[in-house]
Symmetry: C2
Subunit: 175 residues, 2 copies
DNA sequence: TTAATAATGTTACAATATAACACCTGAAGC
DNA sequence: GCTTCAGGTGTTATATTGTAACATTATTAA
């Protein structure tokens, strides 16, 4: 059975502070388990990636980081690589951007739903999608190593708003 | 039923000249149909993308183009954008590279199998993958606009070779 | 404490992509 | 044919994204 029920877009009453605190706690656990150091810098960059619940680009992370003091690109990229390696964040290839992983610890490659209107995203880990892909690929003798699945579109909120806009436009066109 | 049977990796007896000629003919048809001009430049860049049956990066296209004479990045990117727009080529996000589309004309977004060993690729258009994704996404109220599905791994040929290598290594380790 | 290793700082640069404006060309109407 | 004009291309400069290489600092383990 697929885990689609876990899909979560951000909502008005979302407590992002506690959401992020949970993420940091999980990240610390993962690092301990893998005998890796969750240094002050790595933690800071992890926070910056999580901060907005939207994909963030490396140079935006850098910009934020520079508010604390001097910093250069390699500092950011190295930390991002570290976090990627441990599965604590994911990279969105089609945006050259990064998002916090909601389910670190498990080795996995999620699927991403990204709203083109508000930038909010959700991570899936749908077994039915994974199965369909693996079946198709392996059916032709292809050995899957890595999957990139990025789904752009409108999140439920923005979809509703678009419907509203449409209605508004209809009204306007009556003048 | 899925179209997985269409998967095709390049094989030794593949006649790429005729394969490319077919692609050009199809591209010309598509342009006519859409009332767009398949100019000399666009055709040349289309050929360069098709030439290798592997993903090619914009600056490699540029390099090739410069063998014909002076050229600058916008020239290449504009042609690539045009070809993307018409669905004559696809962009591989995880490689910042481009591949020729084997089935232009149909509006579609394929799935790509890309060999990490030899660079060869194949395009799928699996209805089962598409269905699984649309189902998962729309089940949560998400309106899908665009899909990016990139599957990295070993093509059948390289998978076989890897098995050979393994065997060789086993032999070597006996010395 | 000391040596070894891992992490970070710093400079320079490579690779990818676009903005802005000038110029040319080919299609459509006269 | 000629003219006009939109679309296509050339050109320069620059923005954005990502790394190589080496110096320095911090942490771990002996």
């Amino acid at each position: 059975m697929s885990q689609d029920k876990n899909i979560q877009f951000i909502s008005a009453d979302h407590d992002h502070q506690s959401c992020m605190a949970t993420a940091i706690a999980k990240a610390e656990q993962v690092c301990q388990l893998r005998k890796q150091r969750f240094t002050k810098l790595r933690k800071r960059i992890f926070e910056l990636v999580w901060q907005q619940h939207k994909p963030i680009r490396a140079y935006d992370v850098l910009g934020q980081l520079q508010q604390d003091g001097r910093a250069a690109p390699p500092t950011v990229y190295r930390a991002l690589d570290f976090l990627l390696e441990l599965g604590l964040i994911h990279r969105i290839e089609s945006l050259n951007a990064f998002v916090g992983c909601c389910n670190p610890g498990l080795r996995h490659q999620g699927q991403f739903l990204i709203c083109t209107a508000c930038g909010d995203f959700a991570e899936l880990d749908s077994t039915s999608i994974n199965a369909a892909i693996r079946h198709s690929a392996e059916h032709s003798g292809f050995e899957v190593q890595q999957l990139t699945i990025e789904i752009m579109g409108l999140c439920p909120n923005c979809k509703a708003e678009k419907a509203d806009d449409k209605y508004k436009n209809t009204q306007l066109s009556c003048y």
